[in-house]
């Protein structure tokens, strides 16, 4: 059964009223005087006036900020006079007032309506505060992102799978050495990759496209001008409206400085390990050589000993002389030892600080090898002096003097050992082991000469040994 015209009109008006009432936007209608004739629920919510409060009031007084009211009224008058209304029929944004007096921004669309002679204006208004805030936040975020990208030196790229082209920002182009107007596609990009990293990265990208995931890698490129550069790259797939992978986007960061620093650290670590290995090898060599000396000392001393007591005394003395020579060197971290200190440490043993020994000569620094051999020779001479010579009696005297001789090509250390005031000396009938150690220590090991004279007044020993240039300081 059909509706009557009156019923149909009535139903249509009811629908229109319901739509207006239920609309999300404020719908405000004013007449040609600017008085409000329509004020829906959304207007109540947005502006804070109930419909009953708003109807019949001039809209300008109610919701337009005071500074804009005259402009509004003038604009309405102009429109009514000559139908020119620059703000009509388009979306504008403007400030508005709430019932509580607070000002806020609205988006407003005003359309003129004529019903018979009656000239009306209907405005559709929406609170733009949230929209505005979201827009401001978006702009801020974009600015922050750009700042972050600029600060990190990151280059942004995007690859369109169908077209094959890569679009990239300036930072990316600079990073890879692409000109501003140069077309970049997958092959161009691939050609820039370092040959050693190319396959790895291609596999990553292919896997990412297949799985629809992302890739993250540190890799090398060959920049046309700068050569090898290290980049960190992140790529993620892009999807079209149907969810199909349509391309990829991502960023690159130049991490060459960090990588170079890391490589330097690795190199330094390797060098340190190598230095440590050499040090351990050297230590091992010295320990074995010292053990060899101690073992040979024991064997040869034993071979020349009358009895175990004699062996113990001789061997212990030599071992201690070796130990003292090492101590002297240790104090100078094996860089060398001062000759006078070596003499005193070898001769003034067992707290015998008052022994009548005089030393005279220039400052001379001996290298480790010379110091050890000369230390052992001094020990043999000193032992003999204490057992049979000048240091055996209180009146005895020992003088050790030395000087440098030679020319600019070769330097010699000349040492003179003179004992006086001791028991009368009679020359030995055959060469003793101690004499042999002195003479051969100087001759065989140090390439020098030694001459021992058994004068009745005391033993003298003259030694002359070559010194490397760097060993001494006059």
């Amino acid at each position: 059964m059909g509706l009557s015209l009156a019923e149909a009109v009535g139903q249509s008006q009811a629908i229109a009223s319901a739509v207006v009432a239920a609309a999300f936007d404020a719908i405000i209608t004013i007449d040609h005087r600017g008085l409000i004739v329509e004020w829906n629920s959304a207007a109540e919510r947005i502006f804070g006036y109930r419909c009953s409060e708003a109807i019949g009031r001039e809209m300008a007084d109610l919701i337009i900020p005071p500074q804009l009211r005259e402009a509004h009224r003038t604009g309405m008058m102009h429109y009514l006079a000559d139908s020119v209304g620059p703000i009509l029929g388009r979306l504008i944004e403007m400030p508005a007032l709430r019932a509580d007096g607070t000002e806020f921004r609205i988006e407003l669309y005003i359309t003129p309506i004529s019903i018979g002679e009656c000239r009306l204006f209907t405005g559709f208004a929406r609170d733009a505060t949230e929209h505005k805030a979201a827009e401001t936040a978006l702009k801020k975020n974009e600015a922050r992102l750009r700042l972050a990208l600029d600060a990190s030196g990151a280059g942004v790229w995007s690859w369109d799978r169908a077209g094959g082209l890569i679009t990239a920002d300036e930072a990316y182009r600079t990073m890879y050495g692409f000109a501003a107007d140069e077309t970049i596609d997958y092959a161009t990009w691939e050609a820039r990759l370092h040959p050693d990293d190319r396959e790895l990265l291609k596999r990553q990208v292919e896997e990412c496209l297949r799985a629809g995931s992302q890739w993250l890698e540190e890799f090398r490129i060959l920049h046309p001008k700068l050569g090898r550069r290290w980049l960190a790259g992140l790529g993620r797939v892009l999807r079209d409206a149907e969810g199909r992978v349509s391309g990829m986007t991502g960023i690159n960061i130049d991490i060459t400085a960090r990588k170079v620093a890391e490589e330097a650290v690795v190199t330094e670590r390797k060098q340190a390990q190598e230095a440590q290995r050499l040090l351990i090898d050297e230590l091992n060599h010295r320990v074995k050589n010292t053990l060899m000396t101690v073992q040979a000392m024991a064997e040869q001393t034993l071979r020349k000993s009358k009895d175990p007591a004699h062996f113990v005394e001789s061997f212990r003395g030599r071992l201690r002389a070796l130990s003292r020579a090492h101590d002297s060197l240790m104090r100078r971290t094996w860089s060398g030892v001062d000759f006078e200190s070596l003499i005193r440490e070898q001769l003034l043993v067992d707290a015998d600080q008052d022994a009548p020994i005089t030393c005279s000569g220039p400052d001379i620094q001996l290298k480790p090898r010379e110091a050890v051999h000369l230390g052992l020779v001094l020990h043999e001479l000193g032992t003999n002096a204490r057992k049979y010579g000048a240091l055996k009696v209180p009146k005895g005297r020992l003088s050790v003097s030395w000087s440098l001789a030679g020319d600019s090509a070769r330097h010699y250390l000349e040492i003179k050992w003179v004992e006086t005031g001791g028991p009368v000396v009679s020359p030995p009938t055959r060469q003793g082991f101690g004499t042999l150690l002195i003479e051969r220590g100087i001759k065989d090991s140090l390439g020098g000469e030694a001459r021992i004279v058994f004068a009745p007044t005391g033993v003298t020993c003259e030694m002359r040994l070559p010194l490397p240039q760097a060993v001494h300081s006059a």
Binding site: N289, M292, R303, G432
Partner: protein
Amino acid sequence: MILETSPRAVGPRTAAVWERFDPRLDRSRRESSSAKQKILIVDDELWAALDMEWVVQTLGHQVIGPAATAEKAIELAERTRPNLVLMDIRLADNSDGVAAAIEIRQRFDIPSLFVSAHGDAISRNRAAAARPLGFIEKPFSPESLSRAIEAALNPDVS
């Protein structure tokens, strides 16, 4: 008596103490003999050289040297033409025993037996260029050195 001299007659007790170290006993056990040979000792450490001399002499061979430097070793090898060289690796004046052994082998065809504290693989590989007859690591025992010398001088005696 001035300066400690060689011991007089070694008593039976003392002899018993050190006869364990006498390479001659080792040699007699193996019943190998070789005619008196000349052996050049190259070592810049007096005590090690003395120990080697003792082993060489008690085996009945003649000691040449010792030389403390590579230069001296080559000079002695050229002049005396020894049958064997006992060669240390690190020598005085920063000279190199391996280089000396190579030169002595090449110029005079005299083999070396390395006696060194450098027992690592790098040193042995380097030393291999001299085609040495053996490598004895310091500190050595007189027995091992005497066996190595005998083996070097009598390559056919196993």
